[in-house]
C-alpha cells in the first residue's frame, strides 16, 4: 500500500493539524501516513481525522506515533 507521508514530528501546535488538513485536501482519496513524535500531537491529529470522518489506525513505533488513514 502506498501512502502519502506527512511528517509532523517535532513541529509546534497547530502546524501538525494544519499540515494534515492540507494533505487531506490536496490528496483526495489517497491514504496518508502521518508521523508524529508527541502524544498530544497524535491526539490532535486523530481528532481532526474523526471530525473529517476519515477512518484511520494508530500505532506507537518506538518513541513515535504513526497514524495511517484508510
Amino acid at each position: 500500500m502506498e501512502y502519502i507521508e506527512v511528517d509532523v514530528r517535532g513541529l509546534s501546535c497547530p502546524e501538525p493539524v494544519m499540515l494534515t488538513a492540507a494533505a487531506l485536501k490536496n490528496n483526495p482519496g489517497k491514504a496518508l501516513k502521518i508521523l508524529a513524535s508527541e502524544a498530544h500531537v497524535r491526539t490532535n491529529v486523530e481528532k481532526l481525522l474523526k471530525s473529517k470522518k476519515v477512518a484511520f489506525s494508530s500505532s506507537e513505533v518506538g518513541h513515535e506515533y504513526e497514524i495511517v488513514t484508510k
Binding site: 506527512v6 517535532g10 509546534s12 497547530p14 494533505a23 491526539t43 481528532k47 518513541h63
Partner: protein, 367 residues
C-alpha cells in the same frame, strides 16, 4: 487515560475542575482576582530570586513548581514524556520575554484575564479584545506558513533540569531565608505552601491531559472552527463566575478592581502582544510550563524568557501599575504603564512582526 478528555463535554468538566482548583487558591489566600496568574507568579519568583527588587512582588510561588512538576509526573506516568529541543530556542526566549512584558503591562496572563473577567473586571474584556486580535494576527502568519522549525529528541536529562531546579528552589525557599519575600502587596498574599503546591500539581496534571491553552483555544476556533479547547475555558469561567457571584466578589466595572488599571489602549496592546507571541510560540504561558514539564526544552527556554522578561519589566519600570484610590496622604493614581513601558511594548510588537515575517516557509504538506 487516552480517552479521559476526548470529547468537548469531558474537556468542559476538566475546565470545571481547574476552576475549582483556582477557587481553592483564592480562598487559600492568593491576591484578589489572582488565584492563579502564570505571568504574575513567575514575576514574583523572579523577585524572590532577586532578579528584580520590586519589594511588593517577591515570593517563590509553589504554583509554578506545581504546574511544571504536575505535568512532568503525569507525562512520565502515562508514558507521554519526551525530551525534545532545537526548535528556534533563542526566538522562543524572546517570545517568552515579550509575553511577559505584554502580560505585565496588562497585569495578568490569559489565565488571570479569565479570572478577572469572571469577577466583572471590564478591563479584562478590553484585554480579551486585544488578546483575540493578537491571536488573529498570529493565525494570519500561520496560514502563510509560519514555523519555528522542528524539535528533535534529545537526552532525557535535558527535560529533568527545569523540574529539578524548581523543586530545589522550593526547598530553599521553605527551608532558608535566602530568597526575598514581600511583606506587603501581592507578593505577601499567598495560599499556604503545601496547599498551593498540591493544588498546582493537580492543576498541572489536568492541564497536561486536557492540553489546556488559552491562546490555543481561540487559535483553534479562528483557524479550524474547533471548539474543543475553548470548552475548557468555558467550564472554568462558569465556576469562577459562580464563586464570585456567590461570595459577593463580582463587581462589574472598570474602576475599583483589584490589581488592575483602566488604561484601555495599553490593556489592549499588552494582551495583543501576549496573544500574538503565544501563537508564534505554540502556546500561552501556562501551556509553556506544561510543555516544559512534559519534556520540551524549547518551552523551558520560553520559561526563562518569561523569567528574564519579568526582571526587566520591574528593573526598568516597564510593568503597568495598578490603579489606586485617593487616600489621606496620596492622590488617586490611574495606574497603567509609564513611558518606558509604552515604548518597549510597541517595540515588542514590532519585533513580533519581524519574527513572524522572517520565519515563513513553504507548506510541507503540498505533496
Amino acid at each position: 487515560m487516552d480517552r479521559l478528555f476526548d470529547a468537548k463535554w469531558k474537556l468542559a468538566i476538566g475546565g470545571v475542575i481547574l476552576g475549582l482548583l483556582a477557587v481553592i487558591l483564592a480562598v487559600g489566600g492568593n491576591p484578589g482576582n489572582m488565584a492563579i496568574c502564570v505571568a504574575c507568579f513567575i514575576r514574583d519568583m523572579a523577585g524572590s530570586l532577586k532578579l528584580h527588587t520590586a519589594a511588593v512582588v517577591q515570593y517563590y510561588r509553589p504554583e509554578i513548581v506545581g504546574f511544571v512538576c504536575g505535568s512532568f509526573l503525569i507525562a512520565l506516568a502515562t508514558k507521554e514524556y519526551r525530551t525534545t529541543a532545537g526548535s528556534s530556542p533563542v526566538i522562543r526566549f524572546i517570545l517568552g520575554f515579550i509575553m511577559m512584558i505584554g502580560a505585565l503591562v496588562f497585569l495578568g496572563c490569559p489565565l488571570r484575564m479569565l479570572i478577572r473577567m469572571a469577577a466583572g473586571d471590564a478591563n479584562a474584556y478590553v484585554g480579551l479584545v486585544g488578546f483575540a486580535a493578537g491571536i488573529g494576527t498570529g493565525c494570519l502568519f500561520l496560514k502563510k506558513g509560519f514555523s519555528l522549525g522542528r524539535a528533535y529528541e534529545v537526552k532525557s536529562v535535558n527535560g529533568y533540569i527545569l523540574p529539578a531546579l524548581l523543586v530545589i528552589g522550593l526547598i530553599v525557599s521553605v527551608a532558608t531565608s535566602l530568597f526575598a519575600v514581600s511583606e506587603s502587596g501581592p507578593g505577601s498574599m499567598h495560599a499556604p505552601v503545601i496547599l498551593a503546591l498540591i493544588v498546582a500539581l493537580v492543576f498541572g496534571a489536568i492541564a497536561q491531559k486536557t492540553r489546556a491553552c488559552f491562546a490555543g483555544s481561540l487559535r483553534d476556533v479562528f483557524l479550524m472552527k474547533d471548539f474543543s479547547l475553548i470548552s475548557i475555558l468555558g467550564g472554568m469561567f462558569v465556576v469562577l463566575l459562580v464563586y464570585n457571584v456567590a461570595t459577593g466578589k463580582f463587581h462589574f466595572g472598570f474602576t475599583g478592581q483589584p490589581i488592575a488599571h483602566a488604561q484601555h489602549i495599553w490593556n489592549l496592546l499588552g494582551m495583543y502582544a501576549v496573544g500574538f507571541a503565544a501563537v508564534l510560540a505554540g502556546g500561552c504561558p501556562l501551556r509553556q510550563l506544561v510543555l516544559a514539564g512534559q519534556g520540551s526544552s524549547d518551552s523551558a527556554i520560553t520559561f526563562l524568557g518569561l523569567l528574564v522578561g519579568a526582571a526587566f519589566a520591574h528593573n526598568f519600570g516597564l510593568a503597568g501599575a495598578a490603579a489606586t484610590a485617593a487616600t489621606d496622604t496620596a492622590a488617586a493614581n490611574p495606574g497603567g504603564p509609564g513611558t518606558a513601558g509604552k515604548i518597549v511594548l510597541v517595540c515588542c510588537i514590532v519585533v513580533l512582526f519581524i519574527i513572524a515575517a522572517t520565519n515563513l516557509k513553504k507548506n510541507e504538506a503540498k505533496n
